[in-house]
């Protein structure tokens, strides 16, 4: 295990009550301050693995260690961004973003002040009093991301956050995510089934193969993103090679 691993997954397996084996013996070490992606076709258990790391689902076998402590449930150092946003339909943007702090018992004035800062970061300041049904899918996910940022967790777990967002919004969102995270030193674990998304965003990609889910390869794209615009990155030789390399492996499972 690398010395700077913040999340360690040790021999984790998951068998559902129905007898379906979702994950078989997963070992992972996720470096501090990096964006790691769990990539694979549907049914490879990548969301299950993320939820096990989040402490939302108990593993059948093995252990997850986060910052030197064994996981036995959700923790303050981890925040989750949901695929379906999971916003309170009866709460406005401000209440939704501040909801994590509300659960921690912070007084209203204090939590709204913190929430407003993060609402500004994701560009929703003028929508503070809007309700989720008045927002587009992309905007709803910004609310989900802002909510994860308010609790100031070191690790952000993102479960296919852009999958229900249209392609244009998705690209823009990816760029903004990289921009936002560059200044924050957050560790991000990102689940996706999009090869391009994984190659574009990740410092490290864990390729999962299905039935049961196992890690079939670890890829480090090694793309120099510093000071380059998104189009340059998408034309980068390493980016294109990474996309191709992943496709060569994944096409066997489709």
């Amino acid at each position: 295990m690398p010395a700077d691993a913040i999340v360690e997954v040790k021999a984790v397996g998951k068998v559902y009550e129905t007898g379906v084996e979702a994950l078989a013996h997963i070992d992972l070490a996720l470096p501090q301050g990096k964006l790691s992606t769990l990539l694979g076709p549907s049914g490879c258990g990548k969301t299950t693995l993320l939820k096990i790391i989040a402490g939302l689902i108990p593993p059948t076998r093995g252990e997850v260690w986060v910052k030197g402590k064994m996981v036995d449930g959700p923790g303050a150092e981890r925040a989750f961004v949901f695929q379906d946003f999971a916003l309170l339909p009866w709460g406005n943007v401000l209440r939704n973003v501040a909801f994590g702090l509300e659960l921690r018992g912070l007084p209203e004035a204090q939590r709204y002040e913190i929430a407003r800062r993060h609402i500004a970061e994701v560009g929703l300041t003028t929508f503070e009093t809007s309700y989720p049904h008045q927002l587009s899918g992309g905007m709803r996910q910004r609310v989900g991301l802002a909510r994860a940022l308010t609790v100031d967790a070191d690790i952000i777990l993102m479960d296919e956050p852009f999958s229900s967002v249209d392609e244009q919004t998705r690209r823009k969102f990816q760029e903004e995510l990289l921009d936002l995270l560059r200044h924050k030193n957050k560790t991000v674990i990102f689940v996706t089934h999009s090869i391009e998304e994984a190659a574009y965003l990740s410092d490290q990609i864990f390729l999962l193969s299905p039935r049961p889910g196992t890690i079939s390869k670890i890829i480090q794209p090694n793309i120099d993103r510093h000071g380059r615009n998104p189009d340059e990155i998408r034309r980068d030789k390493n980016y294109l090679d990474t996309v191709d390399e992943i496709w060569q492996i994944l096409k066997h499972y489709v």
Partner: protein, 269 residues
Amino acid sequence: MGSEKPNTPVLHHSITPVSPLVWQLISFVLFFGLWELAGRWPISFSFPPFSKTLLALVSMIADGSLARAYLSTLQPLIIGIALAGVIGIGFGIAMGLSRSIEWFSLPIFIVLQAAPMAAIIPLITYMYGIGILSKVLAVVVLAAPVIVMNSYKGIRNTNPSLIQMCRAFLGTKRQEVLKIVLPHASALIFAGLRLGVAMGFIGIVIAELLITPTGIGDLITYNSSVADYPQMFAAIVSIIIFAALTINALERLERKLFPPEMRGLEHAG
């Protein structure tokens, strides 16, 4: 960040140039016109035309007999609905939250909801006599099952993703119930109350006809026995209108308090 447009509601324009109000008026005129014709024909000696019924209704309002009748009918109805509401919502929530209570009582309420509960009213009279208690019980017995079932379903239908979100952000079980499950269920619980009130109306009318004639039941039975059919029909029509208006008002209140989009019914996922 954030140049996307928010969703704008799509306006539906009605195709017909005539406003719905006009159609409703035409429908009323047709209905009462046919009633008048049928009464004058007459299809039965005991079936009064619309005009005579309306006159009887006006006279019953004027001499205060209708108001007195409602005063006595509404008492057991309101007490019964309040009781059924408190017990039913409490029980439904308990069933939704606890697997063992659900296991124990769900079959009972499924049977109760489907059973013709009016059949139990003679038994209630036998056990509790002919006083107000029996009438209250009749209302409770009819109204409670639907209130229980709606509260239970409201709790059980909570979006599992919201519950996971609450846990992921370190919500306690208590917070999960108070901040997610109950707000989520409140609309269905209120709808259950509205259906309970509708059942309560049926319960109270049956009770007043079957147990002892009081209130509206008394007006119907008495006028029927002295063959004053216009007054009897006026009493029947008045309770139908009263019940319909009450249910309609509750429906409007429900839409105002719990708009569908605030219940998460509108957005996908």
